[in-house]
Amino acid sequence: MLSYILKRLAQTVLVLFGITLITFILLNVVPGDPVAMMLDKRADEATIEKVRHEMGLDVPLPEQYINFVKGAVRLDFGKSYFTKENVMDALVRSFKVTVKLAVMSFLFACVIGLTCGMIAAVYRGKWIDSLLMTLSMVGVSAPSFWIAIILQIVIGLKLDLLPISGFDGPLNYILPSIALGTRYAGSIARITRTSMLDVIKQDYIRTARSKGVKEFLVIMKHALKNAMIPIVTLVGTELGYMLTGSMLIEKVFAIPGIGKLAVDGMMNRDLPLLQGTVVYIALVFVIVNLVVDISYAFIDPRIRYGKGGE
């Protein structure tokens, strides 16, 4: 177990190093001098040089990279070119919003996905199974930002039930969470159904039924518990995706989250902000996946000893 964790940790360190390197190389080949852009055309050579020096942009690229990594290790990504705000402060502030959105979407996806998947498995082949599986196919195939706009039109504008933008109160959270969670609810429903059907075929389920255990208990206690491992595996990685892939929903609902920060950074060519956001988002993703993997190694011994290390 310990060796598995150590191996996984070493891999993570390497991956994080690679991510900072790729991000740095990518963003430093962007055409256009950021300092000249920031200062506009009015600035003379001397001013540009002065600002370059202040920002540490007058040293060779490898040195800039080392300084960037040194800063990143201390979670210091410098200051935004535009707002002059400390990038880390902006990241923390925006990330809090995104976490709220992701957690709500996650709960929505789990509750709806598990329920629909279980109902579909129990009523396999009946109309309700076909209906739920069609809906889940629509859920995974429709773009989330489009679902978001439909929700705005139908629930926000036509029925006038919920606000369609902003993120100030609990009522504001509902539509974005549904929009972000739908796709994941669909895939959870599909894997729950498959996994439940695998388990329901097993002998111990027949035994439980023949003993006269109530059908509801058979499903909840015997079947669901054993069908959980593939479901939990999927759910864990999906949390990572929700935490890092919310920029589309944030754009539709004008939510000031981490995705909006990334998009803003790109639109303004604000390199420190962008570099910080990309590395931060990747860091969150990698750490969530690390935690998920290690916890599976606890749950499922096959991962610890078997091919799971690959």
């Binding site: 991956v15 429709a142 999927l234 990334a262 998009v263």
Partner: protein, 303 residues
């Protein structure tokens, strides 16, 4: 979709999917027979063919020029003259959706072509040579896989600039990882087969062994990966264009149409709804057909 790909991946890596000992002509004939029995997959195949026809014959099929502006007819609701209405420049929405089919399908196909090229090459090299080659390629694969997908695609688009060619490149760079992993897994198993040893013993070069003996035996895996990869690429393109980092105006793309429709949702809601339906139909058709294809190419995979 995601789960099925994962399951498929596991099956390939565990060797269930190696079909090297089946005679070729009858293997594909049998697969095709199985595929024909799958009604849903066949319906989706027909939808895909129709989409391709729409894309190819867009100039003939579109009732209007997609880029011609008509300020007398701005943001009109669907009518006989404009079946799906007009946009904020008076352009015909139906014609723009028809032309958007070209963008989506070509992005899907070319991005997958690039991903397959990179993925198969790196996967095959890693598996064939093993040792430090495998270590280096596998570590690179890990780093690419660890990047959250959308922010990675956004970053590349930011660097190389918007435009359709750059979308091919960004999505190709994003999606080769899965192909590389699966091809590596499959070739690791194929490498141990007698006919590969025989080829090596009779003096075949590494290039010959890889291109004539190993890769041809991975073709069915590649076909399934490409079919299931196309809808993913289409979805990424729509997302990037929606964020303003993909296809640039005035070119019609489904994602950018939804983006420009967003300010008008209360005035003309249908404007934002129709392009989304086009995305959904295309993605569903490729997903169901891809699933059917996978089940047909390997009946053992069927759950």
């Amino acid at each position: 979709m995601f789960n099925k790909q994962k399951k498929f991946e596991q099956a390939v890596l565990s060797g269930e999917y190696a079909n090297d000992d089946i005679e070729y002509s009858s293997y594909y004939k049998d697969s095709f027979k199985r595929l024909k029995k799958n009604k849903m997959a066949m319906v989706c195949a027909i939808i895909i063919v129709i989409l391709v026809i729409i894309a190819v014959f867009a100039p003939v099929l579109a009732p209007y020029d997609p880029d011609v502006q008509d300020y007398a007819n701005i943001l009109k609701a669907p009518s006989k003259a404009h079946l799906l209405g007009t946009d904020e420049y008076g352009r015909d929405i139906l014609s723009r959706i028809i032309y958007g089919t070209r963008v989506s399908l070509s992005v899907g196909l070319l991005a997958q072509a690039l991903a397959t090229l990179i993925g198969v090459t790196l996967g095959a090299l890693a598996a064939y040579y093993g040792g430090w080659v495998d270590t280096v390629i596998s570590r690179i694969t890990e780093i690419f896989a660890a990047f959250p997908d959308l922010i990675f695609a956004m970053g590349i688009m930011f660097v190389i600039g918007p435009g359709i060619k750059n979308i091919f490149i960004a999505l190709g760079l994003l999606t080769w990882v899965r192909t590389a992993r699966m091809i590596r897994g499959q070739i690791l198993q194929l490498k141990e087969k007698e006919y590969v040893e025989a080829a090596k013993a009779s003096g075949a070069t590494a290039f010959h062994t890889i291109t004539k003996h190993l890769i041809p035996n991975c073709i069915s895996t590649v076909i399934v990966l490409v079919t299931l990869g196309i809808p993913n690429a289409i979805m990424y393109e729509a997302s990037l264009s929606f964020l303003g980092l993909g296809i640039q105006p005035p070119t019609a793309s489904w994602g950018s149409m939804i983006s420009s429709a967003q300010p008008f949702i209360s005035y003309l809601p249908t404007y934002s709804i129709f392009p989304g339906i086009a995305i959904m139909i295309t993605v569903i058709a490729f997903n169901i057909f891809g699933d059917g294809l996978r089940d047909a190419l390997d009946p053992k995979m069927k759950n």
